[in-house]
């Protein structure tokens, strides 16, 4: 009995978190996905990398249930979507945070939607702020903050519910370089602490490799998985990681595939 319980636990630990089968999606003028299959591994930080407009955002939007697929199924732990807690960080933080709420209330908002009582909400927000070591005045409104601070607020808003899966769609691409470096470290820290299944869309290959355990390389649309690259350098990774041979060769390999795919188009 004991053994089989352990075995079952081990099996769920290693089974894919999200299973995508036969996914198809067309927009008026183009087929973005045609019979797409893919498994998202559990507890890994995975990046999606591919040519412009190949369907990266569309993919994570369909997984998060923001809009329906035309065909196919998306299963979570083998079950269809029901009340999964997602965290989602949008590229355009200016249009994703609520300007009528203070930073604090923005972070607490998803808890309010879930019906968490106010006292508990406040505790949870304070906890997430402390764990990320954030030093901003949370009574400020988003329009009183810098871009990086606003994106930090929207990342905390995504994390405060202890999401089962965290999606980030080019979260740092509107930030300046210094802020980007800082935010990468924050994301890595969160991941090391929580091991939440994370899907990051990035247009920066160096960033994608540096942060990820897995890199999904997509073709032009209709998108297919070209390769699923593994990169298992130990964490926490640092600047030094980027000078190591394994990092450099992984990045070069991804770049080569990417360029081959782009030239095909």
């Amino acid at each position: 009995m004991e053994l089989s319980a352990n075995a079952r636990a081990a099996a769920t630990r290693t089974a894919p978190h999200v299973t995508i089968r036969g996914l198809s999606k067309r927009f008026a003028d183009a087929t973005i996905y045609d019979n797409f299959d893919f498994d998202i591994p559990r507890g890994k930080l995975m990046s999606v990398f591919g040519p412009n407009g190949c369907g990266k955002s569309t993919l994570i939007n369909m997984i998060a249930g923001l809009f329906p697929a035309d065909k196919g199924e998306i299963l979570f732990d083998g079950q269809p979507l029901n009340k999964i807690k997602f965290g989602y960080v949008f590229q355009n933080y200016r249009e994703a945070v609520f300007p009528w709420l203070s930073a604090f209330d923005n972070i607490a908002y998803p808890l309010k939607v879930m019906g968490v009582p106010k006292k508990e909400r406040n505790l949870k927000v304070e906890k997430i702020v402390a764990s990320l070591n954030v030093k901003i005045d949370l009574n400020l409104y988003p329009y009183q903050m810098s871009g990086g601070q606003q994106q930090l607020v929207s990342i905390m808003r995504a994390l405060v519910v202890d999401p089962e899966i965290l999606f980030l769609d080019e979260p740092f691409s509107a930030l300046d370089y210094e802020m980007t470096l800082f935010m990468r470290e924050q994301l890595q820290r969160v991941f090391v602490e929580t091991h939440t299944t994370t899907v990051l869309v990035s247009h920066d290959l160096e960033e994608a490799v540096y942060l990820s355990d897995r890199i999904l390389l997509l073709s032009r649309h209709p998108a297919r998985p070209v390769e699923f690259v593994h990169y298992d350098a130990p964490r926490p990774r640092t600047d030094k990681t980027m000078t190591e041979a394994e990092f450099i060769s992984t990045k070069a390999h991804c770049l080569e595939i990417f360029q081959r795919e782009v030239r095909k188009g």
Binding site: G65, L66, F86, Y88, E95, A96, F98, W100, P110, Y143
Partner: protein
């Protein structure tokens, strides 16, 4: 000389120039003094009219009618605007009607409303409310429709129901546009109320005051009433702007 400090006085320059030109014109008798009284005579008529005469009563009457009609318009138009804006199909199906009546001069509706509500206060208030409501409706609906898609998606991905998205996101998103609608609506309501007071058997109100003073050739009184109406329009606009700045603090940022 500290010029920076003096810059706050810039808005007064136009006023001072106008008063100066006006004084020169009247003192040199370039225009018949019966048609254009001096600034002093006009402001004296304004002062005594407002604080010791009938002008003050008329002023209050017009304020009341304008405010009532704006409130009625807002109560009707805001919920409908939200409803229409939350469904693009619904809005498209009545868009022509709204645009048509929005383009119809409300003054053309006077006879109809007279038949419906008689010559009393109700006609004036309802016609003004009718005009203001369409302006408010249009702005609210557009505000809701143009709610940032990303914000709606953000609420949705957090598990917010349709009703919650409407209440927590679309409603607040539409606030800046709603206030634009309210400001335009109150200005239009004032125009309609003043016109109504002039022509539909009125016994009070600023419109009636202007009209009566003109009929009796009391020019200083007429100018005084015009200034009172101007001050009222300006004041109402300022009032709504102040409320907007307080409650829609994120507007335009």
């Amino acid at each position: 000389m500290n010029w920076k400090r003096l810059e706050v006085l810039l808005p007064l320059v136009g006023v001072v120039v106008l008063l100066a030109v006006w004084s020169v014109v009247t003192s040199l008798r370039i225009v018949d003094p019966v048609l254009l009284p001096s600034p002093a005579a006009t402001f004296k008529a304004l002062w005594t009219g407002m604080f010791h005469g009938k002008l003050g009563v008329d002023f209050i009457k017009t304020v009341e009618r304008t405010i009532y009609s704006t409130i009625i318009a807002a109560i009707v138009a805001i919920p409908f605007g939200i409803l229409l804006g939350s469904s693009e199909r619904l809005y498209r199906s009545v868009e022509f009607l709204i645009d048509f009546f929005r383009s119809t001069p409300a003054s053309a509706m006077f006879p109809l409303f007279l038949v419906l509500f008689g010559v009393g206060d109700r006609t004036k208030i309802f016609v003004a409310a009718f005009g203001a409501a369409l302006v408010i409706l249009f702005n609210v609906a557009y505000g809701v429709m143009n709610a940032r898609k990303t914000r709606i998606l953000a609420a949705k991905v957090m598990g917010a129901s349709r009703l919650r998205v409407l209440w927590d996101v679309m409603l607040l998103e539409s606030m800046p546009a709603t206030f634009v609608g309210l400001r335009n609506g109150v200005s239009l309501a004032l125009v309609i109320v003043v016109v109504a007071e002039m022509f539909i058997g009125s016994v009070d109100g600023l419109g009636q005051r202007v009209f009566e003073a003109q009929q009796m050739f009391e020019m200083p009184d007429m100018y005084a009433a015009i200034f009172a109406a101007g001050a009222l329009g300006y004041g109402l606009n300022l009032l709504f702007l102040t409320i907007e700045r307080r409650f829609v603090h994120w507007s335009g940022k």
